[in-house]
Subunit: 457 residues, 2 copies
């Protein structure tokens, strides 16, 4: 046992250090479709912030790469470790430390899952509103990627719902940022800087999230459209209406067929309507009063019809839940259908039609398949990419990302860059910004031990 | 004319460079009550981003301090220039470049005022929801301090409503961050880092802000309480209710007397009720439908009575507007009443009663006056400080800030640290965080030209 292994064992305890054969495939990556899993040299499972700090101090001292892992449900390989590195798995730091019903916050450890947090907050009538579609995801992982999801159109993404962090710097220093406060103008906002940094700046060991009152009455409305452009044009009208949907998704016809088939879900849409549909809007409304909800559903139906929907279905509870679940599992459906990559470009909402049409043109040129769905209210388009040839796929992705950026968007809305999209990002991003970000990275992590190879080379 | 003056004149044009006697008192500071105004050596009034970039390149080359100025309505002396420095006044870069009604954003130059933006967006039925109470404030200045205001309880602060920036780095490099997109997970969030950095990291030259649908029906409810603790305890109950107020302010009895006297405003509160009141809650509700608004006002009234309000007044339009205006002018009232400082500590909402009671104890010990009002929904307490003796005042402020931090809060919720609170902040803040922020500052501004003396020494 080397010096480093011995030191790590001292810190976390023998049974919480894995090396050699004990490092299983589980620790070799996340759910990214591209690249190969990589086993780290060490897996440590700290139980406290102090242990994390001691691990990072050791790593900086010995210049050993460190990758943090929550549930491993990420899609950009930001949790794929370095072969010579330490993987810090937060599986033991998964406590929900506090549900504070007066300040409307919860304080959790990074390994706590969304599903645990949802369960624990339920009885208080409050809830955490970030639903990236994978309830086994950890809150810490969500902080890493600035996770979004279906409810972001109303409640915002992780960035808008995390108020404070306890975080360990690469040097082992422990800082607290923000807190149970909704605003501050007291120095630079380190909370916001760490969110979305994919484990390259600091490791969060305690996270204070905002909770919202749960609105108990909800309805899900499904509207088929015979024309994708009409779907996209409907989105800003719905946002302007003041109906404040908490879900506003589009699903293209192929994706709808795939996810309903996989979920064995019949929505009761007549064949004739279905066959004529290019895409669907799924709109979720919620209210604290049933009569207001009913009125809003009525108003939404009229609005959708006026915007060109060929029909409007108010889904009954069971179907609604199943459809939302099926949409949440769209990634798995794409994966099992043989998708070679899944991307999540974000563009200004109004640019979605042009983005989609240009993405399809680009795909057609390389004989690739591009199908998808997305958080329409956010301009966040999730596309399954079907192209086996790596060179063709790389060129296709490059061109699609470039179009997204040309339209004023960004390569990723919520999945992150990680290792998976790094090459494209570094090629397309303004070098002045990349250099600035590298200098910020050095300000946090002078020895460059935190997730090297993620974001930057 | 020195080399630098000549170069600056070449950049912005002779008539847009002021030096010597031409530099008026207007450019010597902002509205901070502490410290003395300082005239800068040079005032430049650039018209374009390129001119700003050339000014900063020159400043970095000659190691000349640069301070940015919007409308000069700040309260922390972050716009008070360096005597040997350049003041970049954005008075000519005040255009509203675009109102985009499909993406629900506006793109403005930093010198545009909130009042201009409000006027220009009105016809679209959309609006910018940050109302720090001073409509002559510039959007650029608001970005500098992460301005908040009364509607933050519903719509968030500047940070939550700015989606993108064009910004000039100290080296003269021009970058674009974010955009007309509501989310991104593509590298570090530079937008969020620049917001609240008080001119020390970069100068924003174009700002993309989020617009919200204007809800046309509004009501203002005033509730006197005989006990300040009851006011504070009522706040979380109102937030939990789901009534989603867009205004949730507390005003203590002295402040209410002062602001209504100054505004010559009679609220029709019987003397008996007024004399027994320690503090008031002002709650604003808004809706897109009048009948829902009426129902909500009714529900709010019942809720407030149940929470101990001695009475509930639904103010008619004129009084409501005047009361809100009077509250917005509370700073000026405090100033003309002889306040020696105005501070804006933010604490967890539930900690407000303890914070206020301890602040009063501290004040009593030094025979100082402490009166105030605040954004109760945000835990943001604005206190006018009455203590002429500088040493006593410094000690009082130190102790009040320390209590705020001990309770999990921060020194400033929305005014910023600037020069005015720097000494206290550097004394009370975790040195590891201050050092990290300094390294971030260096990553942006290696020569240290951007607003030296603000935030850091």
């Amino acid at each position: 046992m080397g010096d480093v292994a011995q030191r790590l064992a001292e810190i976390v305890g023998d049974q919480h250090l894995l090396t050699g054969e004990a490092v299983t495939e589980d620790y070799a990556g996340d759910e990214a479709l591209v690249g190969e899993p990589v086993k780290p040299r060490y897996v440590v499972k700290p139980a406290t912030t102090d242990e994390v700090a001691a691990v990072l101090t050791t790593a900086t001292e010995h210049r050993i790469p460190v990758t943090a892992r929550g549930s491993g449900s990420g899609l950009s390989a930001a949790a794929r470790p370095h072969p010579d590195g330490i993987l810090v798995s937060f599986e033991r730091m998964n406590a929900i430390l506090e549900i504070d019903t007066t300040n409307h916050v919860a304080v959790v450890q990074p390994g706590a899952t969304l599903s645990e947090l949802d369960e624990r907050t339920a009885e208080s009538g409050l809830g955490y509103t970030v639903y990236p579609g994978e309830m086994s995801a950890s809150v810490g992982g969500n902080v890493g990627t600035n996770a979004g999801g279906m409810r972001a159109v109303k409640y915002g993404v992780t960035r808008n719902n995390v108020l404070g962090l306890q975080a360990v710097l690469a040097t082992g220093e422990v800082i607290r940022t923000g807190g149970k406060i909704v605003k501050t103008s007291t120095g630079y906002d380190l909370t916001q800087l760490v969110i979305g940094s994919e484990g390259t700046l600091a490791l969060a060991t305690e996270i204070t999230v905002r909770l919202h009152p749960r609105l108990t009455h909800g309805a899900t409305v499904l509207a088929p459209f015979s024309d994708l452009d009409q779907v996209m044009a409907a989105v800003p009208a719905i946002v302007s209406s003041g109906l404040a949907p908490h879900i506003l998704e589009y699903i293209d016809a192929l994706t709808m067929a795939a996810i309903t088939y996989t979920a064995q879900l019949s929505l009761g849409i007549p064949d004739k309507v279905r066959d004529a549909s290019q895409a669907y809007l799924v709109v979720g409304l919620e209210n604290r009063e049933t009569d207001r909800l009913d009125d809003d559903v009525q108003a939404l139906g009229e609005l959708l019809s006026g915007l060109g929907a060929t029909d409007v279905y108010v889904l009954e509870g069971g179907s609604a839940r199943k459809l939302i679940e099926a949409r949440e599992k769209a990634f798995w459906t794409a994966k099992s259908a043989g998708a070679d990559d899944v991307i999540d470009v974000v563009v200004p909402r109004a640019a979605m039609p042009e983005f989609l049409s240009r993405a399809r043109e680009i795909a057609a040129k390389t004989e690739s398949g591009v199908v998808g769905c997305g958080h329409a209210g956010d301009g966040n388009v999730h596309l399954g990419i079907f192209q086996k040839d790596p060179a063709k796929r790389a060129s296709l992705l490059h061109d699609i990302f470039a179009v997204g950026m040309e339209l004023g968007g960004a390569i990723s809305g919520e999945h992150g860059i990680g290792r998976a999209k790094k090459e494209h990002w570094l090629e397309l991003e303004d070098p002045a910004k990349v250099e600035l970000m590298k200098r910020i990275k050095t300000a946090f992590d002078p020895a460059g031990i935190l997730n090297p190879g993620v974001l930057f080379d």
